[in-house]
């Protein structure tokens, strides 16, 4: 397709994307630079069924005047980005000067909420993405080899994990690994440790969520790979068989190079999806042991009785930057290919 045709073809989608994705991101970006006005509080008497006390409330008359003048709030620049709950620049500098060993410094930094979440998010991406690719590819290859008659039902069964709503899927697993659930109780018997709990240990919780992630995302990789396998030309494969190439050699030298662009595509989508890991944390009630960047945003928006729009906006912007950094190598290569193709 010539670029010009492509432009007109893409225009409606592009406009919708600007309206529904671009503008909200812009507004989130603006929001992240603002904080609430200084609260004007006053001492008042409060009485309830349990007695009276003198306590403070927000002075509404004065506050509403300030709010009317500047509805967006107080300009804070990158203040929210660098505070302790986000990049924590000051704290890190302090830790660097105060700690004696590098290990101690790392301990201190990973204790900060943003870095704690970042480490979990990256660990999740790092383990889930390659495993999803590998598992998806193996399933696709195996299914491609079975006889056509039972292929249909097998394919349906294989994509089930993707059809199940993430929250429901994680809840089912959550109950199974409960100390009294089928997996949890059997593990206790197997390990002969009545105190073993998959949910109370941080490491085991991480492993559970990662396994869940692989289970949930593999079908996507499988579906795409399976479709790609149907396009592998049969002549070179047959020629290779005649030449005496083993099954592995055929896969390595003919199939893989052929579906390589598709692998890149699946890797890209998987990385993006995994970087936004969120549902399993809620489903597994794993907030205590595992927090992701998306969970931080959710926490700022709903878990407090006071909604922290600035914090949530700042974390959102940094998540976007994080995804951009992760995808940069692939995107740069695609761009180069595009340039050379022209």
């Amino acid at each position: 397709m010539p670029n010009k045709t492509f432009f007109w073809f893409f225009l409606p989608t592009g406009l919708a994307m600007i309206l529904f994705i671009g503008l909200p991101i812009l507004s989130t970006g603006i929001q992240s630079f603002y904080a609430q006005h200084d609260q004007v509080v006053k001492e008042v008497k409060k009485c309830d069924p349990f007695g009276c006390t003198v306590s403070i409330v927000v002075d509404q008359e004065k506050t509403s005047k300030i709010r009317e003048e500047k509805p967006l709030g107080k300009f804070n620049g990158f203040g929210t980005y660098v505070d302790r709950n986000h990049l924590a620049i000051e704290e890190i500098a302090k830790f660097w000067n105060e700690t004696n060993s590098f290990g101690e410094f790392v301990d201190q930094v990973t204790n900060l909420p943003f870095y704690k979440a970042l480490i979990f998010t990256l660990t999740y991406c790092l383990f889930v993405t390659p495993n999803v690719l590998l598992l998806g590819f193996i399933i696709a290859l195996s299914l491609n080899a079975v006889t056509r008659r039972i292929r249909g039902p097998l394919i349906f069964g294989t994509i089930l994990p993707m059809i199940v709503t993430p929250l429901v899927g994680s809840l089912v697993l959550f109950w199974m690994i409960d100390a009294e659930g089928i997996i949890g109780a059997n593990l206790q018997m197997l390990m002969d440790d009545p105190y073993l709990s998959l949910k109370s240990s941080k490491t085991l919780t991480w492993i559970t969520i990662i396994i869940y992630g692989i289970w949930h995302h593999s079908p996507f990789a499988f579906v795409v790979f399976y479709a790609a396998l149907q396009t592998v030309p049969q002549e070179p494969v047959e020629a290779a068989i005649i030449d005496g190439a083993s099954r592995w050699q055929r896969v390595r030298h003919i199939v893989l190079p052929h579906i390589y662009p598709v692998v890149t595509f699946v890797a890209l989508i998987s990385l993006m999806d995994n970087f936004r890991v969120f549902e399993p944390i809620i489903g597994f009630s794993a907030e205590g042991s595992a927090q992701s960047l998306s969970w931080l945003i959710y926490d700022n928006l709903v878990n407090e009785e006071v909604i922290l729009f600035g914090s949530a906006a700042a974390t959102s912007m940094m998540t976007i930057v994080g995804i951009a950094i992760l995808l940069a190598p692939v995107l740069i290569r695609t761009w180069k290919e595009f340039r050379t193709a022209r």
Partner: protein, 411 residues
């Protein structure tokens, strides 16, 4: 089992039929009423009673356990989605902070007949809410288990720990204690209770500066950890509902739980032997203190500011009818500790009544308390998991709170 359920349905149907006709039509001619409330039996009864008074007004209600997440955005809209919000000591604060609820003085004067003065929540001389029930967290115990092992009913958390250790040593139960320690709001609430029991203050007097990193804070965390060690190892994922299930399956002999849950705990569902042996007592004290390690809560109704006066009037009349309803209080005496005139406390009210007698403190109604509560819920987890010291955990709470409070303009 099925038969008793059928019976219940029949009885409630009959109750509905005759109940509604028994309610006086309060002669509301117009307006529209839309209520947002938490979801537990007492609130359903309360709202249902208010509905009996709606006259020709439009009546809608949303019962949701996610009410906290909806409230501020829904009441900020103008006109607001809801005309009334059933709130509690903590959830009224964000509404006050954002100026989303209206003073009720005129309406109370005009239509508040039968509402007692003690039910009025006044802030700076203005009536902002009308309370109708009280709640707290207190101890539940298994009489049979304690008797068999010769353990007296614990009055302090130290005794709770000793009793739980004895039960565990006897081999009867592996995890004899339970409380809602789910990371987040629930866990923070347990900290607030225990810290108040130690006589702690959350903020430096008259400021929003945190002051929990002290000896009382450390003692609080150590006690929470001891109790967690006696609980099911999955305690960080257990909310009130989960520990109720643990209790009903007979895995637990001592438990700290909301008074408002006693109704479902003592109903006919479940093992009759366990239900019969389930006894209630006041909240425990800690570290030799006089006041219980618990907070008192009220539930009451507030009216949205961003809604027409006509709607506010209709809503108030309907809700005031319920908030001064002797018949409802008599019919639903075991659903809650009602603050309404004519309430005769039954055996399920012991917890709250003991708490009031022991001079328990109400949950702090401060504008910045929600931020502190949020910081506690996530930052003390690693201490309970044994990954950091109590001092470090408290330092983290203060630091997390300070960043949030700065963003919100409190510091």
């Amino acid at each position: 089992m099925r038969e008793t359920n059928m019976k219940k349905i029949l009885i409630s149907l009959l109750f509905l039929l005759f109940g509604t006709s028994a309610y006086a039509d309060c002669n509301i001619k117009s307006g529209s009423i839309n209520i947002l409330a938490n979801d537990f039996p007492a609130l359903r009864t309360f709202v249902e009673t208010a509905k009996g008074c709606k006259g020709s007004a439009d009546f809608k209600v949303t019962h949701s356990s996610e009410h906290n997440k909806i409230a501020v955005p829904a009441l900020t809209a103008n006109p607001s989605e809801f005309s009334a919000r059933i709130a509690a000591n903590s959830s009224i604060v964000p509404l006050m902070n954002q100026d989303l609820i209206r003073p009720l003085d005129d309406l109370v004067k005009k239509y508040g007949k039968g509402i007692q003065d003690s039910q009025l929540i006044t802030i700076d001389g203005k009536i902002m809410a009308v309370a109708f029930m009280a709640n707290t967290q207190h101890l539940y115990y298994r009489e049979d288990v304690l008797k068999e092992l010769g353990i007296a009913v614990p009055k302090t958390y130290e005794e709770v720990v000793a009793a739980s250790e004895k039960i565990r040593a006897s081999g009867k139960m592996q995890y004899p204690y339970a409380a809602a320690y789910k990371a987040g709001w629930n866990l923070a609430e347990e900290f607030v209770n225990m810290y108040i029991g130690h006589g702690g203050e959350f903020f430096k007097a008259g400021t929003a500066q945190p002051s929990i990193n002290n000896a009382k804070g450390v003692a609080t965390l150590n006690m929470l950890k001891k109790l967690a060690g006696l609980s099911n190892p999955d305690y960080l994922t257990h909310d009130s509902e989960a520990i109720k299930v643990e209790w009903e399956s007979g895995n637990v002999a001592l438990m700290t739980l909301w008074a408002s849950r006693s109704g479902t705990l003592l109903d006919d569902d479940g093992d009759a032997k366990i239900t019969a042996a389930t006894k209630l007592t006041g909240p425990a004290t800690v570290a030799g203190g006089n006041i219980p390690a618990a907070t008192l809560w009220w539930d009451g109704f507030t009216l949205a500011k961003n809604r027409s006066d006509a709607d506010a009037e209709a809503t108030f009349r309907a809700l005031a009818h319920a908030a001064a309803n002797k018949k409802m209080v008599a019919d639903a005496a075991d659903q809650a500790v009602w603050l309404i005139e004519g309430f005769k406390p039954g055996p399920k009210s012991i917890g709250v009544i003991e708490a009031v007698k022991m001079k328990a403190k109400p949950y702090p109604m401060l504008p910045q308390m929600g931020l502190m509560h949020g910081a506690l819920g996530s930052e003390i987890v690693e201490f309970l998991q044994g990954k950091e010291s109590a001092e470090q955990a408290l330092k983290d709470v203060e630091a997390a709170y300070m960043s949030k409070a700065k963003e919100q303009g409190f510091l």
